[in-house]
Symmetry: C2
Subunit: 77 residues, 2 copies
């Protein structure tokens, strides 16, 4: 089973990487960019028997830092 986990910074948390990307886009001449946030996309290939609870626990224990990040789990197939 393919699972995608999207990890993004909670709103209000400073994102220096996003700021750098924003600045770089402007430097390249792209206009109209108002905000950039950079997160992680983790693609897991897990056994079909893996429960939702186990996936949730993986996120909480390792994949996301729950203090500053949110995560969303999407099952692909």
């Amino acid at each position: 089973m393919k699972v995608r986990v999207f990890v993004s910074l909670k709103s209000g948390v400073l994102d220096p990487q996003g700021r750098a990307v924003h600045h770089a886009l402007e430097g390249l001449g792209f206009t109209g960019v108002e905000d950039v946030r950079v997160g992680r996309l983790i693609e897991l290939d897990v056994a079909d028997s893996t429960s939702d609870e186990a996936l949730d626990e993986m996120c909480r224990k390792l994949l996301a830092n729950m203090v500053i990040e949110n995560y969303r789990i999407e099952k692909v197939a």
Copy 2:
């Protein structure tokens, strides 16, 4: 307009970060994890007038390394 860009390593490209996460999940006792790949999720807030071509160019010029990475653009709203 909110736009999400998903950047992931092309298949065949070694992913040491994914391997480390895989190893750590096993170390934490999670079984059944077969593969882990780590990519980036970039959330952009751009002007509604931004063209698809401009978004594509941003990805090619800055957000993704076209030699080793693929990208996918998703417009949210």
